[in-house]
């Protein structure tokens, strides 16, 4: 039963979908009425429909699909590399205090260095090519990724590890069959959240010396004050990020049937 107005009340799926749709309808309605009311310059604030038209045009006439694929490729490739580095480190650091106390003093302060501040360095070291962009995206997530994956590893209940020990599991077996396996859903959650962060660095990577990608298109559009194109770019980034998020949520649901109840044991 739905109790929408109770403290911590529960909602039926119908209510949830209705509320989410309502929020978006409200958003577009306000946007649309602002754009058509003449309150703002239509060149600086095109209506939602104008943005959709611009988007269709971008895909149809300006080969935007290639830009989108390029951006997607950059985000996914850099994130794959970051995961490949961070996951083993996080597991090691979360399982062995020696590893934590050796690596964390390095990783922890690096989290406070904004990745974009490395752009000048990266441009000098790696040039303006693909490597520079991948490196920036990598730097944007790697430190947080290591820290969060370590925390996920540490959150594995000690009782489960001790149980495995009393059942005769050796340390390597415990690492694989208990610690990694137990934290896997949490790893996936961390990756999903950091992937969203990765998209925020994409635009920064692509507005500096880039010729292709969604960000580069938006910088070109800015020169011609094509606000509708810029907004179309933002829209595409939003949709891509959201779809990836949904995919990862779906993967979590499919891969971990034992978590579908909502309550965790």
């Amino acid at each position: 039963m739905s109790r929408p107005f109770q403290l911590r009340g529960s909602l039926s799926p119908g209510w949830k979908i209705g509320l989410a749709a309502g929020a978006w309808v409200l958003f577009f309605a306000i946007w649309h009425s602002l754009a058509v009311s003449g309150w703002a310059n239509p060149r600086l604030l095109p209506s939602p429909l104008a943005v959709c038209r611009a988007l269709a045009e971008l895909f149809a006439e300006h080969g935007f699909a290639k830009d989108v694929l390029k951006s997607l490729n950059r985000v996914l490739l850099s994130f794959l590399i970051a995961t490949a580095v961070a996951l083993p480190l996080g597991i090691l650091m979360g399982s062995f205090s020696v590893a934590e106390n050796f690596i964390n003093p390095l990783v922890s302060p690096f989290r406070y260095l904004p990745a974009p501040s490395f752009v000048p360095l990266l441009l000098m070291w790696l040039g303006t090519g693909e490597n520079q962009k991948i490196a920036l995206l990598f730097l944007g997530v790697i430190w947080f990724l290591i820290t969060l994956l370590m925390d996920n590893t540490k959150a594995v209940r000690i009782e489960l590890i001790e149980t495995a020990q009393t059942l005769g599991a050796k340390p390597a077996q415990i690492l694989r069959s208990v610690i990694f396996r137990s934290a896997l859903p949490q790893y996936l959650d961390t990756l999903r959240q950091m992937l969203a962060v990765s998209w925020t660095y994409l635009v920064i990577a692509e507005i500096v010396a880039a010729t292709d990608g969604i960000g580069a298109m938006m910088m070109r559009a800015k020169r011609f004050v094509r606000v509708d194109d810029i907004m179309a770019g933002i829209l595409v980034i939003g949709v891509l990020g959201f779809v990836l998020d949904l995919l990862l949520r779906g993967l979590r649901w499919w891969a971990f049937p034992y978590l579908r109840t909502g309550k965790e044991t």
Partner: protein, 303 residues
């Protein structure tokens, strides 16, 4: 209940019927599975070293059911964790079949108070975990796992996940999982502590049935008097600060046990004895009275 208290003092928990005495004589002829020699544990805490256990010496015989009882904080968990190899003794040693037992090993199975089933594994996979770690597998292992699941009465749930089970069922699976490793001794740290009273009684009778059916020695920690007397051959009573053995009581209640024996004179006498050991009569009776001011109007007395 003053009349009962009067009778209790007349009863002697050391008086054993010939059958019971014979049982204990036979038990002590059996080989010693677990022996504890001069066991001591000191923790380093913020307020300096804390001696949790000191100078523990006792033997557990093959197929014995021993209960360990004592006040909260007297070192019961510390003791069983050392026996399981999860904690290292500061002094002394643990011998299993005469050999020093160091570190965790599948020959000492453990059931914890907290639920420790692996949530990502089904009941059957949980039960097969130990043997799998030892490199076993195949149809034969699955059949064996089914037998253990059968023994704890959960055949219908072999493919269920732990979240689908009640607390009592989870602990039954945990017992089956520990037994599937065929340990020499089963260590249990308040395994039924989180269960409601009714489930708890059920679990106790399940455990006794299992213990009768297979060749297993059990060391069982509890802080519940009835549970200890109902289950145990012998009860090891611990004293606190530092934790040490107060007395090892031979329970004179005959086997097989059932709940009706809980009002038998032997049962009550034993329980009374354990109770006086754990809660010694205080010298100053005022100590236990709380000084709460009266906050209710006069005239609605409840006592």
């Amino acid at each position: 209940m003053p009349p009962a208290a009067l009778q209790i003092n007349d009863l002697d928990y050391r008086k054993q019927s010939p059958e019971v005495a014979d049982r204990f004589r036979r038990m002590k002829e059996r080989p010693v599975v677990l022996s504890v020699r001069g066991l001591e544990k000191t923790f380093d805490s913020h307020e300096g070293p804390v001696t949790a256990l000191k100078g523990l010496d006792f033997d557990v015989y093959r197929r014995e059911f021993m209960c360990v009882i004592g006040q909260s904080g007297c070192g019961k968990s510390t003791l069983i964790r050392m026996l399981a190899g999860l904690e290292y003794p500061t002094e002394g040693e643990v011998l299993l079949d005469g050999n020093p037992a160091k570190g965790p090993c599948p020959d000492r199975g453990m059931v914890f108070q907290a639920y420790t089933l692996f949530p990502w594994l089904t009941v059957k996979q949980n039960v097969m975990f130990g043997p799998k770690m030892a490199g076993r597998g195949g149809v034969e292992l699955e059949q064996e796992a089914r037998q253990w699941i059968d023994m704890v009465g959960l055949s219908k749930f072999e493919n269920s996940y732990p979240y689908q089970l009640s607390g009592g069922m989870k602990q039954r699976v945990a017992i089956a999982r520990a037994l599937a490793n065929q340990p020499r001794i089963l260590l249990m740290d308040e395994p039924f502590g989180a269960l409601d009273a009714q489930t708890r009684c059920q679990m106790q009778s399940y455990l006794l049935q299992i213990w009768q059916k297979i060749d297993i020695t059990i060391l069982f920690i509890t802080h519940d008097l009835d549970e200890a007397v109902y289950l145990a051959d012998r009860i090891l009573v611990l004293k606190a600060n530092p934790g040490r053995i107060d007395e090892i009581i031979e329970v004179p209640v005959p086997r097989p046990r059932d709940m009706d024996q809980m009002i038998s004179p032997e049962f009550i006498a034993t329980k009374h004895r354990v109770n006086t050991l754990i809660h010694p009569p205080t010298e100053d009776p005022k100590e236990e009275k709380l000084s709460i001011p009266r906050l209710t109007p006069v005239g609605d007395d409840v006592d």
